[in-house]
């Protein structure tokens, strides 16, 4: 971390402190109060549900990764097929264009109430990650350098071999880009979905519970946890993106 990064974060904490003191509202606790609530949660868990901090984090992470894996498994093959075959693309594009601008969170009440409390949030995360993955995959397949396909043809590769050995590897950097964007959106979805779900689990639930009980520092500590987990996942995605791009011979 550079000196400017550290200064920036320190300034942020002081600004928060200042606003909390000036406003003097219970709805804006100071960083110190928030920190105390966080330590309290860490040491003793949530007295209302009896769950520990790790239960909440684990539950959110598990929902998150289930949604992510589901999106990966569905979006990657679909993106390859849609990107590769023009008639399928022409068929799929209108549907994608209709569905894509819908905020993933809009699906939360429907999925959670119509399906169930555990699968619902997973599906919201899935929707959030699915579209960036899909559109990046489609884009990646179409962006392939045509000369590479020609080169493979002149070496006697069949259509299937070209697909497997040329088109798939050359679209992987685009897939990584989709993952990077998707993970960011996924984090927004998970917490919002948990707010809806009275499933007694997940950071989002803890946030809603604390706010409802009027215990504001607890609600803010939940937001801090969300921020830290978000930075960690996107940081991880960034790292993998760089690593894979380098391996695939593309400048990251």
């Amino acid at each position: 971390m550079g000196i400017i990064t550290v200064t920036s974060l320190v300034c942020f904490v002081f600004a928060w402190w200042d606003v909390a003191l000036v406003a003097g509202s219970v709805a804006i606790p100071t960083p110190a109060e928030t920190w105390d609530a966080l330590v309290e949660l860490y040491n003793h868990g949530d007295p209302i549900t009896g769950k520990s901090i790790w239960d909440y984090i684990g539950s959110s992470l598990s929902t998150f990764f289930k949604g992510f894996l589901l999106a990966l498994v569905v979006a990657v093959p679909l993106g390859l097929i849609i990107g590769y075959w023009k008639p399928i693309r022409e068929f799929a594009q209108p549907v994608i264009e209709v569905m894509r601008p819908i905020a993933p969170i809009a699906w939360a009440p429907i999925f959670i109430l119509a399906i169930n409390y555990t699968l619902g949030p997973v599906l919201v995360v899935f929707i959030g990650i699915f579209f960036p993955l899909l559109t990046n995959m489609i884009f990646g397949v179409q962006k392939i350098e045509h000369n590479l396909i020609d080169a493979a043809k002149t070496m006697g590769a069949s259509q299937l071999q070209i697909f497997v050995k040329v088109i798939i590897p050359s679209s992987i950097p685009f897939l990584m880009n989709g993952i990077k964007i998707g993970l960011g959106i996924g984090w927004m979805c998970i917490v919002a979905a948990e707010l809806y779900a009275p499933q007694l689990s997940g950071i989002g639930f803890y946030l809603a519970e604390q706010a409802t009980a009027g215990f504001w520092p607890g609600a803010y500590s939940a937001i801090v946890i969300i921020a830290v987990l978000g930075i960690m996942t996107t940081g991880l995605a960034e790292y993998i993106h760089k690593f894979v791009s380098k391996r695939m011979g593309v400048d990251a």
Binding site: E145, N147, L148, D150, A151, A152, K153, T154, M155, G156, A157, S158, Q161, K165, V166, P169, S170, I172, R247, M248, G249, V250, D251
Partner: protein, 284 residues
């Protein structure tokens, strides 16, 4: 894999040969005898409201072991001809045959070297050279050994495990050449292979190509816009007319390779060919 089906002809059991060694199909053809026939090639590009004739009545017989250069005014369709031979482009009419097999689709019997290299950036040098053998199903050990042999022939033995983006332009094209040669194609098509390189590297690459050709008698069709390059490398120089391109003149280049670039007889030939090209430009 062991049987090659071609249009109108099926190779018999005794002619069976692995697809990664198509030169063996034509080993009975003596050096200098025609190995490839291009007859009345015609390519028309169709757009919504217009037809452009890119190539008109291009007929050429290529001898085994011959190095033929194609030069012509820019935009005249040199690449179109090469792509038609490679099978990457369907000619409107005309016939291209290798031996007695008609070429209608791309195949490893015609190797291609691209101006912008067209190497796979996610593969190492070795894996790039192995690609053709990999898709032909050559066993791992064998393809590795063969690939390394050609990587050595182009002077990249220290870079076998390097990635493509770590190489300079000249090195990249060495990989491109090794990748085409390793398949033992009947004909190697080179589309301005040194066009993207600086003059110094270009000379080095030409010398390397000459060395390789002298060692392994390859049949090469070489598209270039450099008359000097054509004269330094080739047995015959095909001068194309402007679009629609057809053969304007064929110039025989005497002398064995390696040649002396400063030889006065090349100066004469150079003048002649440049004169032909000049005429093409004037006619416009």
């Amino acid at each position: 894999m062991s049987e090659i089906k071609v249009e109108g002809e099926r190779y018999k059991a005794k002619d069976r040969v692995r697809l990664d060694r198509t030169d063996e199909l034509f080993k009975d053809i003596a050096e200098g005898e025609p190995i490839m026939n291009i007859e009345h090639l015609r390519v028309v590009y169709k757009t919504d409201n217009a037809e452009t004739v890119a190539v008109e009545d291009f007929t050429l017989q290529v001898g085994k072991g011959e190095l033929i250069s194609i030069v012509g005014p820019s935009g005249c369709g040199k690449t179109t001809i090469l792509r038609s031979i490679a099978g990457l482009l369907q000619p409107t009419s005309g016939k291209i045959t290798i031996g007695n097999k008609e070429c209608t689709s791309p195949g490893s019997d015609r190797g291609m070297v691209f101006q912008d290299f067209a190497l796979f950036p996610w593969r190492t040098v070795l894996k790039n050279v192995e690609f053709g053998m990999e898709v032909a199903g050559v066993p791992k050990e064998e393809r590795r050994a063969r690939a390394l042999k050609y990587i050595k022939a182009v002077g990249l033995e220290k870079f076998a495990d390097s990635r493509i983006h770590e190489l300079s332009g000249g090195m990249k094209q060495r990989v491109g050449i090794a990748r085409a040669m390793v398949m033992h194609p009947a004909v190697i098509l080179m589309d301005e292979p040194f066009g993207a390189l600086d003059a110094q590297t270009r000379n080095i690459m030409q010398e390397m190509l000459v060395k390789i050709v002298e060692h392994s008698a390859r049949t090469i069709i070489f598209v270039t816009h450099s008359v000097d390059e054509a004269l330094y490398l080739s047995d015959r120089v095909v001068v194309l007319s402007k679009r629609p391109s057809t053969i304007y003149k064929i110039v025989d280049v005497p002398g064995n390779r390696p040649r002396d670039r400063t030889d006065p007889k090349f100066t004469e030939l150079r003048k002649t060919i440049l004169g032909y090209l000049e005429k093409q430009n004037v006619m416009e």
